[in-house]
Symmetry: C2
Subunit: 447 residues, 2 copies
């Protein structure tokens, strides 16, 4: 019998979840985390406070029996509400009537999952431990205790790097290995978060059953509900080289003018916008690609392997899906980690690439297309056809958010669908015949 | 007056040359080099022993008055000699009659340039110093002496990272800075060097006035002359996933069969090929792209900024050209390094990208097209037209190797030329009318 001993580098969302899987499988799990225990320190100045849990995420949570615990802190969003410049509102359902994505606080979710992980006596989380190097073939990881400056070395049968986009184990140990492919690409845009507080009576200022979008072509504002009546809002736009860019939002006048001109309904809810502008930092957005994901006894999962931009709400979900897949392979290959890693990376790398492509594409959808009546009509036609022939057509958004169809497959099918829909949108009087048998017949013929 | 104090990280070709420039400009220069003094240790097991110096390289050497010293150890190659599978030979001149690229030993060249750099009393080279981190804004670099393990910190007004494709200053300090774009991409192919010795009487086994190529479509063998009568030969081919790949050259039988089948004339000169196969390692080939090149008081030059694959023979030449450009800017902006760096990276980044694209393209030219009579005819037509109208047409190879036209411009002009030549090659009886007035007129009209 092999020793069942695992090191997990990074106690974030994927690391905590994967620790629960391994604990249940009888592993002794040691998680090493760079930061202090987030349950004891204030992280409100952190980033990406809100996340959207969808099908793949829930599946991974339910697989290990903790879905219901998390449901207690998750708010369903059944569709998008678009706000145009005049304040007029359009609604688009995400999927079928009862289908929703769920707004959840990153901090609350992570704290809850750490509690759950630590409830297993064979699992420990070690805070303030910085990964400084690793011997990947031997399964040894070197850490420095950031408080005592003491350096330690730890080894295990298997090492998981779940330490995010700027994974130390990847940068310090993997990047220099033979023919390691790597790229970190920052897109032109950045983001800044804005907290829209609850009304004085604790009620919500916007419909809390939807994700709100102010699409403006080259930039956008979005809002996701929190449990306490507030919304976490995020402005995405270019850093510079554009009239509407963060470099042109420096003074209070610039900020006020910008919000009054572009998001008047939003501005009226939060006229103190210029005062609270600096509460959250301007942050960059990166796509990280690498390969292989596994070297020796170590493997990357989640953002460490395939960090993406947040526009499809799939960063966490794809990381959680890594846990689902890794667990299936662990059982199938009976703890033969060399075989498991080999299959895992070959299978998941195309899906990591695909969700990155899909995420970039969905930025255009969110900031631009959702404000376009033609696009919304196209989505209505797809939904209608899908209702009539669910076995023949699942809209791309539903494939990504409400199924576990591999992302690479979804991307490919989505491209075919888009080709057909381009033709359909050219049909005479499509605005009036959109739900007719004629249109259904046309699509059926083209499939 | 600002203090004129510079740190150069890496005593390779670009670092040594740039040290000479700075020494002459009155700087106190400290070069820190990871390796031991190459003049004292054997580096014959190293890689890339031969390089091809061309116009840009000579210009940078002559600018600082050391060209003639280097000419003593450089061998001119006036064209390519292609060897087909039957041993038949074709010759293609590189440029005009007296134009050549020059084969030079990396080790000899580097040693000579270190000697020249150290001949300035304001310049010192510190060996066995590993760059472990840097404070780029303060101009501080941290080194570890690899022999004593002692750590030191050094500071300067300006820091130059000339430490190659796997630049420590880039990896340890720049990669984590705000929105630093970075990619390391390994191509499918690798290379292995083979030394073809001189005849017993010291004479050359092949014509020493040319670069020899055995083009074989998906792979190729090349040979460059050394001063001692030997040739340094290099086999380029895929690592794997191909019938002809390094993974299929493991046993002596495989190696012998391969060389007998593919390079019989070469095999006859070196029937001991299977015995000496392991003398040099199999090495990978990477393209490194990054931006910015300058952060704070530090800037990257040469491979550290824009490492490329060796197929245009421009790796060293482009690094030397960085010295030419940096020197022009140093004078123009009167030691205002912030301004110099800003202009340098904006001007040179497109050229770095272009030489990488050109290098990748030239792999196809060398391994495939040069074996094609149509391609050789096209090049003959271009040479002929260029002779008649030198002000209207400089062939791409000449732009890159025999001029200092910026690489980005050369790439762009080369694409236009190729478009025109595709049409020309479609003309009726082009094989017979290739040097006619009709063809000249056609090209003139299309320009």
């Amino acid at each position: 019998m092999k020793e069942k001993k695992a090191i997990i580098v990074g106690a974030g969302l994927v690391g905590s979840l994967w620790a629960i899987y391994l604990s249940k499988a009888g592993y002794t799990v040691d998680i090493y985390e760079l930061r202090d225990d987030i349950r004891k320190v204030d992280i409100s100045a952190g980033k990406s406070i809100n996340l959207a849990l969808s099908y793949r995420g829930w599946k991974a949570l339910d697989n290990v029996g903790i879905g219901d615990e998390i449901r207690k802190i998750a708010l369903p969003m059944f569709g998008r509400i678009m706000h145009d410049k005049k304040g007029a509102i359009t609604y688009q359902a995400y999927g079928k009537e009862d289908q929703a994505i769920y707004s959840v606080s990153r901090g609350d979710l992570n704290a809850k999952m750490m509690d759950l992980a630590e409830s297993f006596e064979n699992t420990s989380i070690h805070y303030n431990h910085k990964c400084i190097d690793a011997n990947l073939n031997k399964g040894i990881v070197y850490f420095e205790n950031t408080k005592t400056k003491k350096r330690i070395e730890r080894n295990a049968t298997v090492v998981f790097g779940t330490d995010g986009a700027f994974s130390a184990i990847r940068i310090k140990a993997m990047q220099k290995t033979y023919r390691f492919q790597y790229s970190q690409h920052y897109i032109e845009d950045g983001y800044r978060e804005i907290l829209l507080p609850a009304n004085k009576d604790g009620s919500y200022k916007l419909d809390k059953k939807a994700l709100h979008i102010w699409p403006r072509g080259r930039f956008m504002l979005i809002a996701l509900p929190n449990e306490d009546g507030s919304f976490t809002c995020t402005l995405f736009m270019p850093h510079k080289n554009n009239k509407n860019s963060f470099e042109n939002l420096k003074t209070k006048d610039q900020i006020n003018d910008f919000f009054k001109n572009e998001f008047l309904d939003f501005y009226k809810m939060i006229p103190e916008i210029a005062e609270i502008w600096g509460n959250h930092p301007l942050s960059p957005l990166a796509i990280i690609r690498c390969y292989p994901w596994a070297v020796g006894k170590a493997v990357l999962m989640g953002d460490a392997a395939h960090a993406t931009v947040p526009f499809y709400g799939q960063g966490m979900n794809s990381g959680f899906e890594d846990c689902t897949v890794m667990e299936e392979l662990r059982k199938k290959y009976n703890e033969d980690w060399e075989a498991i890693f080999d299959v895992f990376q070959k299978q998941q790398k195309p899906n990591g690439d695909a969700i990155q492509d899909l995420s970039l594409h969905n930025y255009h959808v969110m900031r631009d297309f959702v404000g376009d009546t033609k696009f919304l009509l196209q989505k209505k036609i797809e939904a209608e056809f899908s209702k009539k022939h669910p076995d023949k057509w699942l809209p791309l958004y539903s494939q990504v958010s409400f199924s576990d169809i591999p992302y690479a497959k979804a991307l490919q099918v989505g491209k075919q669908q888009n080709k057909i829909m381009k033709e359909v949108m050219q049909l005479d009087n499509i605005e009036t015949i959109w739900d007719s048998e004629e249109v259904t017949a046309y699509i059926l013929k083209r499939l």
